[in-house]
Assembly symmetry: C3
């Protein structure tokens, strides 16, 4: 990584510094492992003690920390630690191996329009009538289907699949083997099938072979993705049936997430790893779905809600809710219920005593 | 998309129509967004009001709807809405960019037999002794291992991995980056390990380093897939150990599903996204596993059963059951239990009053 | 598969045999399906009856079984059945189609160092300064990023993605489309966002648009993987932020598992399919996480613990624990709680009687 002066790092992050601003550091590092040319990152007071274990001469510290007492030659002060990490890691990030130009092994349809400054890697396939903005970095083995449109500054890692007709905004990042624009999982039986019977009648006695030969409902819609969206490794976004599946601006999607057909995800949402959203659900703006959270089809999760990891949402959620459990309920109610459940075995014993035997 | 006459669309779907059968439509669309050359899809009565928001002159409507009162020039009547969607979307689906022939960049082993009409895309690798039926469409970056056999009319999307010796029926569809024929996750320790001890003795006090150096059990079996099967994006099917992992005719598998080694999945099952089936389980015919449902190893799920999304099946399930929860129990029992749990905190208070303090 | 003499198979497995040691078998098979040239595998006494359904002349049997009474010409005796399967399947495994040498279509950076005996398949891309040990088998469509180091005897199946700077020990196996070294899912808002507010205050009334424009924290660390590790199909390992995400020696990771940034996984762990481990969690040695188990961020799971499938770990777990549920609790406590819950509806009725009506 490129070396940086302490004063320059501080200025770039908009932070104060103290001591030798000319000191040069090559990379940030955890304080206990940091070498003399590294910048120890000890923004949490509990890590200050680790500085003595490492050999750093400079560190990023909580505001007001006694840098001289810690034996440092220079310090940068970060009042909001995690936010400083964003700037710090951006400044020191490893350069990507993506030289400008089209690798000779790539297959780019003559009708495709690629903006200036693009890097198209080995074995990339770009289809008919694709449009890609400026400065795209498209790494090896990516495929982009016919008619797809991608904005400026896209970063598509190895093996990403962009389906035909997908429309994507600026600054899109897709991690290895992510898929945007697979067909929806939508089938129908000529007569009502097992799921419909179970939903409608609470019974399964009507099931039978005749009812369950599935016929495909094709996905004529596509996927529309806003600006500043990230799509994690192996994550999948399905096309809509008639309209598009949509992902709003600023939404970040983690690895192995599944977003079903016709789903609408709002702006600035976080979908953590293994989240699954069934068909036609609506996730409003600024919703956070914890890892492995599931959302049933056709539901709405109101804006600014948080669903705890592993929860299963089976009913509409009002805005600004904090939900947990399977089926998910409001956190306060879940906590009361859970405390009662933990005490339940003893309570049942008590009740048995009272009633003189309860089976 | 190709334009179609209303009368032709109706005839192809086996449905009645009214009004101007010569009216031409270019694509189906949601009623509120439909333009004058689009066919509004308003088969659910609740969407009829949306027709006035769009500009459609023709629509698919519930049987008996007042098409003239809705201001339409033509209408098609669909008594079973979702089934009509299958025919409708099939008729208007986007053509796939898969020209017949073998792309010059593809590497096809000379011993492979490819049926007539096939399209083999860029950077495809087809191994030794592979057999593929007629009219296959194999998109870019697919790999097909030695000895695999695939029937007629296969559609393998970008990045699909077909393992060596996999056998697949007709009309197979695999979505991007799906994997059929990975090795099973099967390991053994020379002495009984942590899992076996936990299962056998309910205790973990025998655990120790010596017990847990894992040795691999290799997968000599393969995967056998019937006709009319779909495999979702990123989904994984593991090989069997001695015999094959099998997927029955007509079964549809959604994105990111995991099917373990030696599993038998019957005919006409639906496995929704993120379903996981552990080794040697048996899923009988016409079972529906909701999203994120898990099935423990060696269990049997009886035919025509439905397991709700997010449930964890830990015991055999009789046929025609509707199961929910983790561990999964019958839905009726779950509903009673869940209602009691919701009232539990108040009941505990009541009990405490009765007993004059309970802890 | 290569034919083997019964005496040779027994000797290779360190097991006793009886009868005609010169009998030649071509493959192991389930007893009911075994043909006359196959070795029936009937190590579990419950499968002995199946021998009569098949035509095997030789079998692997439990110690002391009456091989002559079962009509066999030869038998091998396996006192520990599953362990014998490891040796047996290793001996009969199908050879991999991976000829030594670099396929002409592969793109290997001139600075990369590849050990002797390697097989580099079609459309493989190996970046700058990559080091790979002896006897690597790298199948088609794999990409290996700049600076990655991989030990001897690696097996990378089709479509595997190894990120830049990843370091991997000997005998690594990665199944199709696995990803080692994706960027971490780590974002921060300039002001505290929804998740932080929900955690800190138990309330969501501070949420708002201003708080949730996410800024990326880049992953400067990488992934460090020990010896004898397996990574399942579609599984994802994220890079660390400053330090490396680490996977210890002998750990086996199943399909579609997600391991977040900064996570430490110890030695000889088993992570079953769909397991998800959130950022900075520590999984100590010899831990088994059942299928779909989730672990929240920054937690520690003590060594030799077992977490049941589908469980959600929300607090630190002491060593040698057996955990189940969501949130996960000790198995004994879960079992008592679950039994009480199953009896709860009836107990509530009883309580209602006692109190003369309880809502």
């Amino acid at each position: 990584m490129t070396p940086h002066r302490i004063a320059d790092v501080a200025a770039a992050l908009g932070l104060e510094h103290a001591g030798d601003g000319d000191l040069v550091v090559r990379a940030p590092a955890p304080p206990a492992q940091a070498g003399p040319e590294e910048l120890a990152v000890a923004m949490d007071p509990k890590f200050l003690g680790d500085l003595a274990k490492g050999r750093a001469r400079a560190a990023v510290l909580p505001a007001g920390a006694d840098w001289q007492g810690l034996g440092l030659a220079a310090a940068i002060f970060a009042p909001r630690a995690r936010y400083a990490m964003a700037g710090l890691t951006a400044r020191f990030q490893h350069p990507l191996d993506a030289p400008a130009g089209v690798h000779p092994s790539a297959i780019v349809d003559p009708s495709a329009q690629i903006g200036p400054g693009a890097s198209i890697g080995p074995f990339v396939v770009i289809g008919r009538d694709v449009t890609i903005g400026a400065n795209a970095r498209i790494l090896s083995h990516v495929s982009i289907g016919a008619g797809a449109r991608i904005g400026d500054d896209a970063l598509l890692m190895e093996g990403v699949r962009i389906g035909a007709r997908t429309r994507i905004g600026h600054r899109f990042v897709a991690h290895p083997n992510a898929v945007a624009g697979a067909d929806g999982f939508s089938f129908v039986t000529p007569e009502p099938g097992a799921v419909e019977a179970a939903k409608d009648r609470g019974a399964s006695d009507v099931f039978g072979a005749a009812a369950t030969v599935y016929v495909r409902i094709h996905s004529l819609g596509s996927v529309a993705i806003g600006d500043d969206v990230e799509l994690g490794a192996g994550a999948c976004l399905d096309r809509g049936t008639l309209k598009d599946t949509t992902i709003g601006n600023g939404t970040k999607i983690d690895n192995l997430v599944q977003v079903g057909h016709n789903v609408t995800v709002g702006e600035h949402c976080l979908l953590c790893a293994h989240v699954g959203i069934a068909g036609s659900a609506v996730i409003q703006d600024r919703v956070v779905l914890g890892g492995k959270a599931g959302v049933a089809d056709h539901l709405t999760i109101g804006h600014d809600s948080v669903v705890a990891g592993g929860s299963g949402v089976g009913a509409n959620v009002p805005p600004r809710s904090v939900m947990i459990g399977s089926p998910a309920i409001k956190r306060d109610e879940f906590n009361r219920m859970w405390m009662a459940m933990r005490r339940l075995p003893r309570a049942m014993d008590k009740l048995r005593e009272l009633t003189g035997g309860l089976r």
